[in-house]
Symmetry: C2
Subunit: 393 residues, 2 copies
């Protein structure tokens, strides 16, 4: 079967080495990776199969990682990873949502015992999206002599710095996001149903560009009209756009699971002078934040530049200013590592990527004009080229 | 703020009563619902905010449930639920993915103490997608005198039987799925990029029909071409469709979070006689399964009718034949309750809905011609009307 790998083998090897070094430093023999982005990062695995139990197991003294999942998805592991057949394991279908109480984690525990024995120190992703309370309880029961330690974000903190090859994909994702916002601007007219606007944006996100296609995004498209533009994560409706309103959109360019987010507020009809002024303030603060970015600065410092700009106009933003982005799967693209917020002392390094999301959700209006970027040697590189402005249709 | 409820208040009240009865039967004082579909079922809540900690808390001696989530999503709770302001709680943004180790579950534990005291029996959804090992550890730490019991699927088993109002939405979802498959058939031509085919299908899924719109689906669109049609959950590529190949598609009609799945294999160019024969066998078995459905039969019995039909041609299907469907959020629509499989003794009742998914993934070919249906008083009602046939383009 033809392999479909999107990076050089050497790059996967370097990623694995970095992870094993971090494991060794913490005395971890075996790392159980339940998070789909971490599985993809280390092995290339890519299929929508993570809604049933699935792990990538990294053992300090085992060359390759081991993928283990549902038997029917084994073929996806063969196709999308570099792993040898020996390192692709599977459990039978009767373990999927078993009414009889069968646990796929028993099969995973058997693999752990096979490669590491019983008295092993196991890292697990306690705060991950795909490591349920039951998964942990089942593993602890099946491996009573093992020591479990929380290794959540161990891989995330490694993949926060993107390689040149990864940055190429992030740039492509950014171009898809640009195309999606352009499609939104082109589509918005009074009378267009919200769902038809959303449909056009999804079409563009997935079609991508003539040079490269897009993939499904890590969350829904965010689309809020009028009163719903006050909701950061709203559901769109079937209502037609009125002659005068505000549309809040956050699109997601996704290229081979690398995602770039891009938010814009679009005014249908002429906005009020007060609203224009609010947008100008938000853009000024966004630019102040962006211009402050350079290696060596902390997330907290970047946040302060943004807040100072906002404060000059008597405004505050309650929520964090942004978060690191990269490989993503549902339910979210955020890497759960660095946030652009007060108290986050993460030092910026070239190759880190963020979505700067200075959304202001006030009592009766909102504005969200955002920018994803990569940290460079001297400052930042914008991953999207959509103008930072209030669009008016 | 205008409320946007999609069911009568009496229907929400009946759902809550049923849940409280199940709680009382198990001696549970407080039920912590982390699963987004269960939150939606009991309160109407609908926003893409479940990637940060969020709960609906049902207390036996508290009239209304309590929603608690991130402060910025409070406005979505006000808009989309019937809950009074008192029963909409929130935690501050600093608790989101806190590098300082703050846990939103501490705030949730405070609400539990407020309404139930310290010595309380708490049901949690141990096997849910949104109840991580850390969520459980944090709650157990914050509520050391409480007794935790696994109440996973307690609400799922109640919502497995759909009301007439819910069935109306399932029918609408089915019509959206029909339109999406038709769009796929219309779009498929040699030379069309896989991503452009996927884009057209997404467009239809979200646009819906002229009468009602669609929503985002609970998983990616499944789309596998040629060799990738052997993968049940493949990622599409940018490759153009060849002049002769097989396309496997599973679309998702989603109406106000109620989802109906529909899979079809589409042949580009004339299929071989052997492949046509395989499809005929699969369709015959699907029909045998469907015709066997009636209240009082078990899932296991329906599965047996399907398998007997398949076995007459010397074929077996490894994986389960189907699963119950209804309200869904990423990562999956499946309700994790009844499966159409050997050993599942769930007795069919009118109002239950399933996706019958007789996908055959063999060594070198696959076929997936599926049918979602509702159980009726006398048999079944197909939720989609797309012909059960191999489409040829």
């Amino acid at each position: 079967m033809k392999k479909e790998l999107h990076f050089e083998r050497a790059e996967y090897a370097a990623r694995l080495t970095a992870v094993k070094e971090a494991m060794a430093k913490r005395g971890i023999n075996i790392l159980l990776l339940s998070e789909p982005p971490n599985q993809n990062y280390l092995t290339g695995y890519n299929a929508y199969s993570f809604y049933t139990p699935q792990m990538v197991i990294v053992a300090l003294h085992h060359d390759e990682p081991i993928w283990i999942g549902r038997f029917m998805d084994r073929v996806s592991a063969v196709r999308t990873t570099y792993l040898s057949d020996d390192n692709i394991r599977a459990y039978e279908d009767e373990y999927v949502q078993s009414a009889a109480g069968l646990s796929a984690y028993d099969i995973m525990a058997d693999v752990v015992k096979e490669i590491g024995g019983q008295r092993v120190k196991i890292g697990v992703e306690m705060g991950g999206y795909y490591y349920s309370a039951r998964a942990h309880a089942d593993l602890a029961r099946a491996l009573p002599l093992a020591e479990f330690v929380d290794s959540d974000l161990l891989v995330n903190w490694i993949r926060i710095v993107k390689s040149p090859a990864e940055l190429s994909l992030m740039r492509q994702a950014g171009r898809i996001a640009d195309a999606a916002i352009q499609r939104a601007v082109d589509t918005i007219e009074p009378g267009v149903r919200e769902c038809d606007l959303a449909a056009a944006i999804y079409h563009q996100q997935v079609s991508g560009t003539p040079e490269f296609g897009g993939s499904y995004d890590c969350s829904q498209l965010m689309l809020g009209v009028g009163g719903r533009a006050l909701e950061p994560h709203p559901a769109w409706t079937d209502e037609p756009l009125p002659a005068s309103t505000t549309v809040y959109i956050e699109v997601h360019g996704n290229r081979l699971r690398y995602q770039v987010n891009l938010g814009r507020t679009i005014s249908v009809g002429q906005p009020s002078p007060a609203y224009r002024e609010l947008c100008d303030i938000a853009i000024e603060a966004l630019n102040a934040g962006l211009e402050s970015i350079r290696p060596g600065r902390t997330c907290s410092e970047v946040n302060a530049f943004f807040r100072q700009s906002l404060a000059r106009h008597g405004l505050e933003k309650e929520s964090r200013l942004g978060y690191s982005i990269g490989i993503g799967y549902p339910p979210a693209v955020g890497e759960r590592t660095a946030s652009l917020r007060k108290g986050d002392e993460t030092v910026l390094e070239p190759g880190m990527c963020f979505h700067m999301m200075p959304g202001l959700w006030l009592d009766d209006v909102s504005v969200a004009i955002t920018q994803s970027f990569a940290v460079t040697e001297s400052g930042h590189e914008a991953l999207c080229s959509t103008p930072r402005t209030l669009f008016v249709k």
